[in-house]
Structures are given as C-alpha cells and as structure tokens.
Symmetry: C2
Subunit: 277 residues, 2 copies
C-alpha cells in the first residue's frame, strides 16, 4: 500500500547540500521563510563557524536539526589512517551534539582495490570504536547503504540488508540505518529490510530524490522527485508502516539544479514534495 499523499510541510527537511550555493546562514533563513520544517547540515557548512551558535540559530528560526551529514569513510590500508578516520568521526559526533542533531549519517567508505569484505570489517571496527563517544554525546550513528555504483570508492555497504546485518552485529542502541531511495530503490529485498529495521527501532532517517534516465553524472545528476523512475511514495509507505514518524529529507546533488535560482528551486521542491513524494 503506498503512503497517503503529503498535504503539508511539517515533515519536509532539506539537506544543505541540496541548495549548495547557499551558506548556512542563508540556508537557515531561506528554509524558515519557505516554511520548511527541518534541516540536515553537511559538515562543510560548519567550517569556520561556532557550531553551537549555528545550532541555536536553527532553533531560533523554528527549524529542527534532523541529521548531521556525514561521518564514515572508515576503511584505509594503514591503521594510522583508520585511526584518523575514527578521530574525525568523534569530531562529527561532537558537531552533531552542538547543533542538536540526534544522529550522524555515515557514508561508510571503501578503498579502491581493497577487498570489500576487508573494508566491511574495518567499517564495523570503526563504528565500534566510536560508540562510547556517541553514547556520551547522546548522538546516534546511522549507517547509510550506498548504491552499488559507489562500491569501489565510497561505501562497501551497498544494500539495506548489509546495513541491517551490521546493526545486528554491533547490537547497540546508538547504531541504526538511514534509508535513501536513490541508493536502494532497485533492490528487490528493500521492503523486507525496511520492515526489519523499522521494527527493530533502527530506522533513523529517510532521504528522498529521484533517479533520472539517462543519468549523465554518477554523483551530481540526481533528480527532483517526479523527474525520475523511483517509486518514492510506495517506499515512503513501507517506511511509515513501520511506525517511522521522522522527516522526509530532500537530498539532491545536481549540477543542473545548483545552477538554477535557488529560491525557485525551493518552490519546485515544495511542489514536487506534495505531488510526487
């Protein structure tokens, strides 16, 4: 059963990278003016900023901080570099706490040429090494499976089943998953795995956009909802049937949309959110 149609913006969240031309202050002001309800902050937007001040600015604007993007990138050939990644993830946890984000989304990482099984082991070890820090900060870690076309260099976690299996292995209340329709829509096992993580209380975040045909850039040619072939409303239905009551986060990397007027883009996002999500 597909989800019922969205009729308001109370669950609409935008990722700062969706409106890449805007700095954090502009994004907060523009999102609030557009009656967007939530914001997911990418770490680059916090550079050279007082993190806690950003968090308070978000609150004062009436927005909710939904996530911090992104931690992860744990695998590396040398132990020294794996430790650098762990230390950086701890800093991401601190940043999330400062801006009142309940979790950090993890793009888990991969090393071209290193066996995926080895990378997966390093990812598990890396997350495990961050858990005490996460617990102390009361910030969860959300494993985001990435599309298999990113397996070589961005993430060795490529299906929701793998992410759920990792959660089971780690068995910690501070670890969950993020479901992004762009990465997972093709997977015949998706519904089953959404139910699995939802029932386990592990479904922390839900990201939406669309898959364009043809896709002309493997990174930055995502579509606005309705511009592609993803059954977004059906997947949202599966997510909501588990009891998920979080935000629908619009995360669009698009050279095309970044080149457009960003106020107009926000209007288009709001229209597409109601019509096609």
């Amino acid at each position: 059963m597909p989800a019922t149609r969205l009729t308001d913006f109370s669950k609409l969240c935008l990722h700062t990278i969706t409106t890449k031309p805007w700095d954090i202050e502009t994004a907060i002001a523009k999102y609030a003016a557009a009656k967007v309800s939530g914001i997911t902050v990418w770490r680059q937007w916090l550079e050279d900023r007082d993190h806690n001040k950003v968090g308070n600015t978000i609150r004062e604007a009436g927005l909710k901080t939904v996530s911090l993007c992104r931690g992860g990138f744990f695998p590396a050939k040398e132990q020294k570099n794996r430790q650098i990644a762990i230390d950086d993830n701890k800093r991401a946890i601190d940043e999330a706490a400062a801006i009142y984000a309940p979790h950090v989304v993890l793009v888990c990482g991969a090393v071209p040429g290193q066996a995926l099984d080895e990378s997966r082991k390093q990812i598990l070890d890396g997350i495990a090494a961050c858990l005490d820090h996460a617990r102390a900060a009361n910030v969860k870690l959300a494993i985001e499976p990435l599309h298999p076309m990113y397996a070589a260099d961005r993430s060795a976690v490529n299906t929701l089943k793998q992410a759920n299996d990792m959660c089971s292995r780690l068995d910690d209340p501070y670890v969950g998953v993020a479901v992004d329709v762009y990465h997972l829509w093709w997977d015949p096992g998706l519904k089953k795995e959404i139910i699995r993580c939802g029932k386990a209380g592990k479904l922390l975040a839900f990201h939406i956009c669309d898959w364009r045909t043809p896709t002309v850039d493997m990174l930055n040619d995502r579509g606005l909802m309705g511009e592609g072939c993803i059954n977004i409303r059906q997947i949202r239905g599966w997510v909501e049937q588990t009891g998920f009551n979080g935000f629908n986060e619009v995360e669009i990397f698009s050279n095309r949309w970044w080149a457009a007027d960003q106020d107009m883009f926000i209007s288009e996002i709001k229209r597409a959110y109601l019509q096609c999500s």
Copy 2:
C-alpha cells in the same frame, strides 16, 4: 581460494564489441591471428551478412562461437511491443543457431517509470514464450543480471540471485545465466549464487573486464582487467570450482580503448588476461 593463474589462451574469448572499430570479417581474422580461441558475436555485426557464412568463417578460422549477444529487452508498456520483442528474440535464436552459438545472452530490459516487479513479470513471460523456439533450435537463453545502475532502463534483473530465482521459476533446461564480473562484483551474495547456478548446471557464460575509479561514463568506461578494483581471479575461482569449463569472455565497452590502435589493444588484452584474470 582464487583460481590458478591462466597460462595460455585456450579459454580466451573476445566479444566483437570489445574491438568495436572492426567489422566481423576483420575481427575473425585478427582474433585468429592473435591466437584468441573464442568469439562472441554481437548482433549488429551480423547485419547485411549471410549468417551461416559468418558461422562457417568463424569455424574455418579455428575459432569457437561462444555466445550471441544479445537478446532480451522484453518489458514494454503495450502488449503489442512485448510481442515484437518476443519475435525479435526468436530471430536472435535463429541467428545464434546459424553461427553455431550455443546460447543467446539476454539483457532482459526495463521501462523507465514502470514498476520493476511488473518488468520482471514481463521478462519471465517473454522468456517463457521463446522456449519452444529455443528448444527447436537447440540454443539456450542466458539471463545476464545487470548492475543496479542499469535498473531504470536496461534490466530489472540486477543480482545473480534474481536471475537464479528466474531459472528456478522457469525450470527449463534451455534457460541459464551469464555471470559478468562488472555487474556483480560488489554483491556480498555473489559466491553463494555462483555455486547455486553452477551446481544446477545453469552457469552458461562468464564475462570479464574491470571497474575503473572514477568511472566517467556509465556505459562506455569499462576497464581492461587490472585497470580497476574487481577481484576477477577470485570470482573466476568460484566459477571454476562449480565445474565450469567454458570461456573467459572479455567484454569491454570503452570509448578510451576503442580510440586506440586495436592490434595494440589485443596485445594488451592478452597481457592482462594472463596477469590479472
């Protein structure tokens, strides 16, 4: 256990599309001169040719016809167009028989915006409608799962498990699968599913190339073996452990290599075949 190193070219097959600048007569002559053992013929190479004459030229050159590429593309919104696809697949079967190819490789198809489940059902129906024709011609059909990045428009069959499940559903000796490392290397279930189809006698073809980082074109930027991150030798080991005794088919779509001198490319393929496959 990885496969043992290849020491000769007795199992080396090239796809005509790998050396795209060459027509069929040139490809046959060049492959034979280079001591390549097998040839997989793409249908475009048979246009305006007497098919049986091509088959005999291949034999007389001392080559073996390994496969015909490619049938499939069964899904369509209208029944009329699904029937056109079935008729075309029957012609592909006839072409395979004419050139002494034991099977046709199927790129199963997808329709942007049509539910993948519906496309999968249409694929099953389409293959089933071709089976009498395949049996009469003694030509098998090899379902090739394609990478999930092609799910929108090229194939709704994106894992070997799905292809194996389809074989189980169809339960016919004239249906099997083709394993291509480019499409499947990332899948944590790959070894298990290779063993499954191998033991069932359903593993009909094995294709090799490599995954480059970055991949700059989703269709035509495949790597020569060794240029990327795929664990080709390990996957070949899994394939051979099932008793597979067929060819290692080099199938490289590459704007870069197509622009190079093709005689030099064949030399590079032979070097990479021994060193990196």
